[in-house]
Amino acid sequence: MEQVRYINLFTSFFKIGTFTIGGGYAMIPLMEEIIVDKRHWLEKEEFVDVMSISQAMPGVFAVNMATNIGYKLKGVRGAVVAVAGNILAPVLIILLLAVFFRTFRENQVAEAVFKGLRPAVVALIAAPVFNMAKTARISWKNVWIPVLSALLIWLLGVSPVVVILAAGVSGFVYGKLAVGKEGGGQ
């Protein structure tokens, strides 16, 4: 394993943050290449473990990965350095664009382009719903859970936070009952 220095940790995550477009999962190949193959900071298996914990925890996946890897390598400071490196460029780029587009929004060309973009953005939110349905292992037995959640939030205006809390509590209760049955419940 290569000696870990803060500056390398920072530049590695800076690169990962700057050169991946399209969100957390798009970062994984580059992250693996740099952390596992190039720097040898983690073994492949460790990297996969980090991924599964980062997916389970709250927050943005890519930032969770940075936190977890930074902490493994250099403790709390390492985590701060990795996260800072990871989000620095994206935040600055977005800020520049935000200031820039505010003045150009009234422009007729920009308006035409955005009219085309809006339905595409909605489609890009709808597509992961169906992709995630697979990873969440939705079946005819439990499909009512996502459907009910969607209807509560969309039609009745229930806060997603309330729905998530309710899901956490019922998962806890259901899990306790299943364990109580000595592994009989699955």
Binding site: G23, G59, V109
Partner: protein, 193 residues
């Protein structure tokens, strides 16, 4: 004080985000568009389009951009907008960051606990519904056009929606490419023609 409110709301959004950036996007949409009316549905999809086309995690990009736009929509200067966007990005990271550290330190041994497993299994199911709800609320005339005003816009929007959905879901085409194409279609349909 708007900074404190922005900070607290984005802290909440951060810690309730499970299952990746799109659930964060759904929460931001719910808080900013539905609850506080600090952004219109159009503004939200516009900034989401830009957040998806620029480097970095979509959730962080959306939070940064939302922080800026909310400040300006509330009548503050661009400089305060920059401050607002930094507050939003910091807040949205803060609690998950601390939770992650705790997880690394003390909770690693609970990972295979069946109760914890079940909690996450139910959460994953609910998150699918959460993102579906965001897609449903955004699929409104504000983003697709009003039939009475412009039938052309509704039809073009429907074609773009179906095309992008199929290309993304069936053929796994990159979102950036799809957004660039849709922008080009918009340019031709609404400006050139």
């Amino acid at each position: 004080m708007i900074f404190v409110r922005l900070f607290l709301i984005f802290c909440k959004i951060g810690i309730f985000t499970f299952g990746g950036g799109y659930s964060m996007v759904a929460l931001i949409q719910n808080e900013m568009v539905e609850k506080y009316h600090w952004l219109t549905a159009e503004e939200f999809t516009d900034l989401l389009a830009i957040s998806q086309m620029t480097p970095g995690p979509v959730g962080i990009n959306t939070a940064t951009y939302t922080g800026y736009t909310v400040m300006l929509n509330n009548g503050y200067s661009p400089l305060m907008g920059v401050a607002g966007s930094l507050v939003a990005s910091f807040a949205v990271i803060l609690l998950p960051f601390l939770a992650m550290l705790l997880m690394c330190r003390y909770l690693a041994k609970h990972r295979d606990n069946p109760v914890v497993e079940t909690i996450f299994r139910v959460l994953r199911l609910v998150v699918v519904g959460l993102i579906a709800a965001a897609a449903l609320s955004l699929a409104s005339p504000l983003n697709f056009g009003f039939w009475e005003q412009s039938q052309k816009q509704v039809i073009v929007s429907a074609v773009i929606f179906v095309g992008v959905f199929v290309a993304s879901y069936k053929f796994r085409k990159s979102p950036i490419m799809l957004l660039l194409l849709s922008g080009a279609v918009g340019f031709v349909a609404y400006y050139v023609l």
